[in-house]
Every structure is written in structure tokens, then in C-alpha cells.
């Protein structure tokens, strides 16, 4: 029963996207002309933004789509970076060949730690994930297995080589990192539309309803963790080869907090929002370098203000209600009246929960981008909830 119509992109929109991607791809050259000697610096900033974008996109699967409060993403990032570095330094693997191992290790760790705790609700999960990131950091600092180099970390990781071409300069990494950002966007976009993505959304909106409809919630939650973590592990490899030296302090609690902030500030569940969040959180402070250490002060205050005025993030995700294809829409429109009937009281009152939040998210979405026909979507989500309720009663 897939109501998810493949969203028909307007040709203007996609042309705009293509143009934006093209301009972005030319940035290293443009920057070379515009910024002159400081071009490498700005490219480095962009690379950092890109790296965090990859991480935030992978966190978005867990936090944005599945709605699991996860504030320990730096742990998986760290595992990826360290596995790559160790394989590269100790076992002489080429750094790019360590990507599968890094992703696998991070994913495995995620599965292992998520499995016993994934049933915890909201804030309990949050504190457990914070605990995990602290444990990983302490383990790395204490030179676990004699492989991680202790507090100083590992030094001398080799540069990545792609088909004989060694990436050394910021512009090389620019294409590697932003290429990966593009891959992430496409991959996670595909995941979002898949059965898996729909299951995650269902879990986020109402875990009890999802379970009663036969969604194996724990399985999907763990899978979300594994996929998000594996992708963060991959980002770890890129990070290790870009910095050439890694130390435990690069993966502390604060990093996790910043990733968390990127996703929520940008708009959880919305990839465009997450990308915007990466620019704002990691890029914008660089522009205000002149303010020195007052930057973070302003950043903290700005976060509070942003959340007060845009609690759903800058670009909130679309309403979770699926838009029905036109012929169905008029047919199902009559149904909502039934929800006030005595038979549906039980199911109806439960359906109110997700609906309330859905219409809330929707209201702010409308303020951002009034689009034609979007007025229907909250209506139709109600219809579907009732529909579900009906199935339950039968």
C-alpha cells in the first residue's frame, strides 16, 4: 500500500539544482581567482563543511528519520578513522582500501551497542549514546590493544590514491569530499523512499502504531544505527587521510553535540536542511573569525533564538502524511467524518498524536515554502490514519 508517489520534481527546480551543483563544482577555480592567496584556506573550510555534511547526513538517518535521540555519532566516526589509520600504518593497506573495513567496524560496533539499548525511549537513549562516545574516547586515549597511540593519537597516515592519482591539495580533497556528499545525498534519498525509509518514518511518528502494524521496530532501529554508523565510519577514513594525524580529542562529546545540532537546526529528516545546517554550523563561524572567541558565545545565543522561532529547524521535513494520488483524494475525503464515530474512538485518539505533530510541522513548512496543493497533504494523512484505524478494528 504505497501511497508515496515519487515526488515529481518540477523541471525548473531540477535545472536550478544542476546549475547550483555546476557552480559548486567550479568553486575551487572561482576561489582561486576571487580569494587569491587565501583560497586554500577557504577550500579547507569547505572541505570541513563537506565532511560534517557527510556525517550529519548519516546521523540524519538515525536522528531525523527514525527519530532516535542519538548524541554519540562521533564514536562511530572515530572507529572508522582509527580502523583506517591502524590498517594503513600497521598493516600497510592503501587508505582507500580500508574504507570497507572502516565502515564494517563502525557498523558492527553500532549494531553491538544499539542491540541492547535500542528499546530505550527518548532521553534514556540520548544519555546512553553520550556514554558510548565517552567510553570510546577514553578507550582510545588509554591506548586500547596498544594500537591507538594513546592521547597523542596516530601520525603519518598516507594520502589517498585513486587510480594512481595521489590526493594532496585542498582542491583534490574538495572533489573527493563533495563527491561523497553527493553520493550520500543520493543514497539516503533512495533509502528514504524505500520500504526501509518508510518503516523508519512510521517508527518516528508512532512506535506503538508501527509495531501493531507488524513493523519489526527493533530490527529497523538497529538497522538505522548500523547504516548511519557505517557511513560515519567511511567519513572517518576520509578524515584520517585528509588530516594525516588523528587523536582522541577530535572525537569527543562536543563533536557529537555539533553533529546533533546540525541535524536539528537544519531540519531533521530533510537532507537540504542538513546540508544548510552543516554550512551554518561549520562554515559560518569561519567567516566571523574576526570575533575570535566571542564566536561561540554568539553561536550559543543564536541557537536558542533559532529554536524559539523555528522549532522544526530551518528547513523542516515535509509533512509525514503522504499525498494521495488525485483520483483517490476525492474518494477518501469523505472518510474523516467516521473518526468521530464511537467505534473509532480508541484508534482515533491514538491517531491524534502523530496528526497533531504532523500538522504542526506542516504549518511551519507552509510558512517556509507555500506550494500548491500542499493543503491537501495534512488532510490526507488524517485519512490514512483513519484508514489504519479501520483495519485495526476489523
Amino acid at each position: 500500500m504505497s501511497f508515496a508517489s515519487a515526488s515529481r520534481r518540477k523541471s525548473f527546480g531540477s535545472a536550478l539544482t544542476v546549475a547550483a551543483v555546476f557552480v559548486f563544482a567550479c568553486l575551487p577555480f572561482l576561489l582561486g581567482h576571487l580569494a587569491g592567496s587565501s583560497a586554500p584556506y577557504w577550500l579547507d573550510v569547505l572541505n570541513t563543511v563537506g565532511l560534517y555534511a557527510i556525517l550529519a547526513l548519516s546521523l540524519n538517518i538515525i536522528l531525523g528519520h527514525a527519530g532516535l535521540f542519538h548524541m554519540g555519532h562521533a564514536a562511530f566516526f572515530a572507529v572508522g578513522a582509527y580502523v583506517s589509520a591502524i590498517l594503513n600504518l600497521t598493516f600497510d593497506w592503501p587508505i582507500m582500501a580500508t574504507i570497507p573495513a572502516a565502515a564494517l567496524a563502525a557498523g558492527l560496533l553500532a549494531g553491538l551497542v544499539a542491540w541492547p539499548v535500542v528499546h530505550l525511549s527518548g532521553d534514556y537513549l540520548l544519555i546512553v549514546t553520550i556514554g558510548i562516545v565517552e567510553i570510546v574516547r577514553i578507550a582510545l586515549t588509554n591506548d586500547i590493544f596498544g594500537l591507538t597511540g594513546g592521547p597523542n593519537g596516530l601520525v603519518g597516515i598516507s594520502r589517498p590514491e585513486i587510480m594512481g592519482f595521489r590526493l594532496t591539495r585542498p582542491q583534490h580533497f574538495f572533489y573527493l569530499i563533495w563527491g561523497l556528499v553527493a553520493v550520500s545525498v543520493l543514497l539516503f534519498d533512495w533509502l528514504e523512499r524505500s520500504r526501509f525509509g518508510r518503516a523508519l518514518k512510521y517508527i518516528r511518528e508512532d512506535v506503538v502504531a508501527a509495531e501493531s502494524m507488524g513493523v519489526n521496530t527493533n530490527k529497523y532501529k538497529i538497522l538505522a544505527f548500523v547504516i548511519g554508523a557505517a557511513w560515519a565510519g567511511l567519513a572517518g577514513t576520509v578524515y584520517a587521510s585528509r588530516m594525516r594525524t588523528i587523536s582522541p580529542e577530535s572525537f569527543n562529546f562536543t563533536e557529537s553535540v555539533f553533529l546533533f545540532i546540525i541535524v536539528i537546526l537544519g531540519g531533521r529528516g530533510n537532507q537540504k536542511g542538513v546540508l544548510l545546517g552543516s554550512f551554518l554550523v561549520m562554515g559560518l563561524p569561519e567567516i566571523f573569525r574576526g570575533f575570535e572567541n566571542k564566536r561561540l558565545l554568539v553561536f550559543g545565543a543564536a541557537l536558542v533564538i533559532m529554536m524559539i522561532f523555528r522549532p522544526g529547524g530551518l528547513l523542516p521535513a515535509r509533512s509525514p502524511g503522504y499525498k494521495l494520488p488525485e483520483p483517490y483524494r476525492s474518494r477518501y475525503k469523505r472518510l474523516p467524518d467516521l473518526s468521530s464515530g464511537g467505534v473509532f474512538n480508541g484508534a482515533g485518539s491514538r491517531a491524534n498524536g502523530p496528526n497533531a505533530s504532523a500538522s504542526e510541522g506542516f504549518a511551519s513548512g507552509q510558512a517556509a515554502a507555500p506550494s500548491s496543493g500542499s493543503g491537501e497533504s495534512s488532510d490526507s494523512s488524517k485519512v490514512i490514519s483513519v484508514d489504519v484505524g479501520q483495519d485495526l478494528v476489523k
Binding site: Y124, L126, I127, E134, N142, V208, N293, A302, L303, P311
Partner: protein, 304 residues
């Protein structure tokens, strides 16, 4: 029996440390109980308390001019007052506008407030460690057999426990305390019973930071030095303590704090100093795996 003396040493150390964790944890648990919000800025309010104490005792030199007992008493009153004012402002500015919106938005607002406060403290007092004077309290050490018990350790523990006992009485014996407990169980029902929930929230945001500020001052006096980002680690641990005890449960926070302090001191004494924080978090995770709502909180059916 040197082993036994070592054990006592760690035990007393753990109890004192735990009483400080418990004081901070109370702020987390009371706010969480009423608002279902992790007040991430609470650790920073604790640090603010430590720095205000530093300013009063060391910069203004109250310790030298008034004599230790009066100086510390006066600075406790001032620190508690100022930090609870900060707590009230925090609630007013960063949390009240978000009362009706999404939980995650409130979490990020709390993180923003925490980043703001931490950097404000750093800008005001500098990034380096600040030392409390060693001569603040008479350097008395009790010798019981081979077991050394510094006076300051006893005083900090007694102060923390006394405050917690007072809070316990307040919460369980007064009408306002009843209102707090009612709002923590069910805000809506409490409102229907005539409880002014808004007032309760303000109250909680005054009591919590007051206890946190006091804890900050005690840490300064006990350890002798403070740092601008001390709020993060202490906050994290105190929050862990609150969770271990069952968040929202006031007695639970006290028990959780003491337990955490003991665990840490014994872990550091008998297992490994460098792994002590990892042990703490591991135990937290294990407790949550087996008792998902903490030690003291009753298991409740998930509300639909």
C-alpha cells in the same frame, strides 16, 4: 590493616564526591521531572557557582577579611542567590518560549544556552585554571588509626547532605513540595487540581540551580581549583547519576549521586584511574539495559 584503611579512604572520598554529584543531579532531575527536558545548561550553572565563589572568596578576598566561617557562609548565600537568578533567567529566555514545541528543539535550545554560558564564563574569567586559596579552611586532618580524614572532606559532605535533607523535607512535607511532586507525575492532572504549574516550573528552576551553584562552590573549596569547562564533565556525570536513580525521582538523584561517587572512587582505587570514567558510563549503560527507568523509578506501562 593498610588495605582496610585504603578502603576507608576511597569510601570517604567517594561519599564526598558523590554528595556533590547528588547536589547537581537534583537540579537535573527536578527540571526533568516537571518539564521532561534535559537542562544541558545546568552543568554551566554549576560552573558559574564555582566562579562566583572564586570571585567572592579570592578576588574580593572575603576569606581573608572576614575569617573562614563567615566568609564561606556569606559567599554561599550570595552564590546561591545569584545562580538561582541565572537559572530563572535561563528558563525565561531559553525554555519558556519552547514549552509547547518539539522536545528536540528544546534540547538544542538547552545546548545553545550551555554553549553560551560556557563561553561567557571563559570570556569573563579566562580559560586557565583558577585556584581557590589553600588557606580558606584550616588544614585539619583527622587521623583515625592509619586512616586520614581531612576536615574539608567532612564539611563538604555534611553541607551537601544537610541541604539534601532540607530539600527532602521541603518536597515531602510542604504544600509547594507536594505541588512539585504532582506536576512531576502529571502536569495536566496537576493543573486540574489547581496546581499553578508555571509557578512550579519557576520554583524548580530556582531550587535546581541553587543546589548546582552550591555544588560548584563546594567543588572549588574541596578540590582547590576550577576550570571554565568543568561544567561539562560534572554535568554529564551528575546527569548520569540522575538517570541511574531514575530521572524525575528526587530521592533517586541523591542515591544515584552517592552511588556514582562511590563507584568512581572505588573503581579508581581498585581497578584503574584512567578507566574510571569509562567504568562509570559502562555501569550506567548496564543499569539502563536491565532497568530501563533507573534504580528507584517504578516501572510504568508505556502511555499510549
Amino acid at each position: 590493616m593498610p588495605d582496610f584503611e585504603f578502603f576507608l579512604q576511597q569510601l570517604s572520598n567517594g561519599l564526598t564526591r558523590g554528595s556533590i554529584y547528588a547536589l547537581i543531579a537534583l537540579g537535573y532531575t527536578m527540571v526533568y521531572g516537571v518539564m521532561k527536558l534535559i537542562n544541558f545548561a545546568h552543568g554551566e550553572l554549576f560552573a558559574l557557582g564555582a566562579y562566583l565563589g572564586y570571585t567572592l572568596l579570592v578576588v574580593f578576598g572575603l576569606g581573608g577579611s572576614l575569617g573562614p566561617p563567615l566568609a564561606i557562609g556569606l559567599s554561599i548565600i550570595m552564590v546561591v542567590g545569584l545562580v538561582s537568578l541565572a537559572g530563572y533567567l535561563l528558563e525565561r529566555v531559553a525554555y519558556r518560549p519552547l514549552r509547547s514545541s518539539d522536545r528536540l528543539a528544546a534540547v538544542v535550545s538547552a545546548l545553545g544556552a550551555s554553549i553560551f554560558l560556557q563561553n561567557a564564563i571563559m570570556l569573563q574569567w579566562g580559560a586557565q585554571y583558577r585556584a581557590f586559596g589553600a588557606d580558606l579552611l584550616p588544614n585539619v586532618v583527622f587521623h583515625i588509626g592509619g586512616f586520614n580524614l581531612p576536615l574539608v572532606r567532612v564539611l563538604v559532605f555534611v553541607a551537601a547532605v544537610a541541604v539534601m535533607a532540607a530539600l527532602h523535607v521541603f518536597v515531602h512535607r510542604t504544600r509547594l513540595g507536594l505541588a512539585i511532586r504532582a506536576a512531576a507525575i502529571d502536569q495536566g492532572a496537576a493543573k486540574l487540581m489547581g496546581v499553578d504549574v508555571q509557578k512550579v516550573i519557576i520554583l524548580v528552576f530556582i531550587i535546581g540551580p541553587a543546589l548546582g551553584g552550591l555544588a560548584g562552590l563546594l567543588v572549588g573549596v574541596y578540590y582547590g581549583q576550577i576550570n571554565f569547562n568543568m561544567g561539562q564533565l560534572y554535568g554529564l556525570k551528575a546527569f548520569t547519576a540522575a538517570i541511574v536513580g531514575g530521572i524525575g525521582n528526587i530521592t533517586g538523584a541523591m542515591v544515584g549521586g552517592l552511588l556514582l561517587g562511590l563507584l568512581e572512587a572505588l573503581g579508581e582505587g581498585y581497578i584503574s584511574v584512567i578507566w574510571k570514567d569509562a567504568i562509570t558510563f559502562l555501569v550506567l549503560i548496564l543499569i539502563l539495559v536491565f532497568r530501563p527507568t533507573g534504580l528507584l523509578k517504578e516501572r510504568v506501562a508505556e502511555k499510549l
